[in-house]
């Protein structure tokens, strides 16, 4: 049985977008652009092409608003598009992502995008980010959605199109894998 999310706060806005309301579209973009940017950044582990990928995500929202079925929340649908864009990008640019991983953060992050933090903090973040980036795609995505986007396991299951127990298992395995690399680094005082 399909459920209609009538309590979805974005329901009216996405209906307006489907009718070609550009103002409603702009409001939705402004509301979610930060979440979409950071999900892409954490999923891909680099800054390059983030804006292009985020644009692709929101262009899909504009063009497919009419086909959005209200049996899920708008945000769930948006995260699903974002995750799929990231996976497509990753499979097309595997080589590029590997070489980017070898570069230092300073070499590839545009200064305008950096949130002000001290040098030591940035180095720690870089080490942790590289470890997360080495996780298998599905483990990494499930962990990011739970840890950084505060999504429930149920919502992650909807976004990723997997079962609740699969989400539980993916996040468990992601943490187990990170435990092996991050805990020794923490004990050595590197992070």
């Amino acid at each position: 049985m399909e459920h209609s999310y009538t309590t979805d706060p974005d329901s009216q806005m996405i209906t307006a977008v489907a009718d070609g309301d550009e103002r409603a579209y702009e409001q939705l973009v402004k509301k979610y652009q930060h979440a979409v940017f950071n999900t892409i950044y954490r999923c891909l582990g680099n800054y390059e092409d983030i804006e292009d990928i985020a644009q692709e995500v929101f262009i899909k929202v504009w063009h497919k608003a009419k086909s959005f079925r209200k049996n899920s929340k708008f945000s769930t649908w948006l995260y699903r598009i974002t995750v799929n864009q990231c996976l497509n990008y990753r499979s097309k640019h595997k080589q590029k992502l590997v070489s980017l991983d070898e570069m230092t953060e300073k070499e590839r992050i545009p200064d305008s995008l950096i949130v002000e933090v001290d040098h030591e903090q940035r180095n720690k973040a870089e080490i942790v980010r590289k470890s997360v980036n080495k996780l298998p795609d599905r483990q990494r995505i499930a962990l990011i959605l739970s840890q950084f986007e505060d999504k429930s396991y149920k919502e992650i299951a909807e976004i990723m199109g997997v079962s609740l127990s699969a989400v539980e298992s993916l996040i468990f395995r992601a943490r187990e894998n990170l435990k092996k690399t991050l805990i020794p680094l923490r004990n050595d005082g590197k992070i």
């Binding site: 950071n38 954490r42 942790v128 980010r129 396991y153 539980e168 943490r175 991050l182």
Partner: protein, 158 residues
């Protein structure tokens, strides 16, 4: 629950994704099992460490760039109407024009055929037009009179 089962639930427990009953069982187990408690502490540390991952800011021109791209796509789609779409839009007017031309050609040819058949029938009947019109008596009018002139017109004389 065995240690292996508890261990698999610790991550979900950390995220508050276990039932109330499971929560009680896990809490009781952690109070008595050092190995599972250490495992839980390690997972908690992983979550803590992950929080150092930085955030990025959205480019200040993002919305402007996005709108420009969408407007560009709209303009492009207005200029380049796909062939199939063009055919779909032009189907009704083209069909109407074709039907008018066909009707005109068929009508014109049918008219010619009927006209020819009628002429042949007329020739075959060898009927004098003056007798058909009932004006044969005009020939009897004296030369130079109005009746004579009209009779001459009908039979094609001078």
């Amino acid at each position: 629950m065995k240690c292996s089962e508890i261990k698999r639930k610790l991550s979900a427990f950390l995220d508050g994704e276990v039932s109330e009953e499971e929560k009680q069982i896990i809490l009781e187990h952690l109070n008595t099992c050092d190995r599972c408690r250490k495992e839980f502490e390690a997972l908690s540390q992983v979550s803590e460490v992950l929080e150092v991952i930085d955030e990025i800011q959205v480019s200040p021109f993002f919305v402007t760039h996005l709108k420009q791209r969408i407007t560009g796509q709209k303009a492009k789609s207005r200029v380049h109407i796909p062939f199939v779409e063009w055919i779909r839009r032009a189907a009704v007017p083209i069909t109407a024009v074709v039907l008018i031309i066909i009707s005109f050609l068929v009508g014109s040819n049918l008219g010619k055929v009927l006209h020819r058949e009628h002429a042949e029938n007329m020739a075959e009947s060898e009927t004098d037009i003056t007798s058909v019109l009932g004006v044969s008596s005009l020939a009897e009018f004296p030369e130079g009179s109005l009746g004579w002139a009209y009779d001459n017109l009908l039979i094609g004389g001078e």
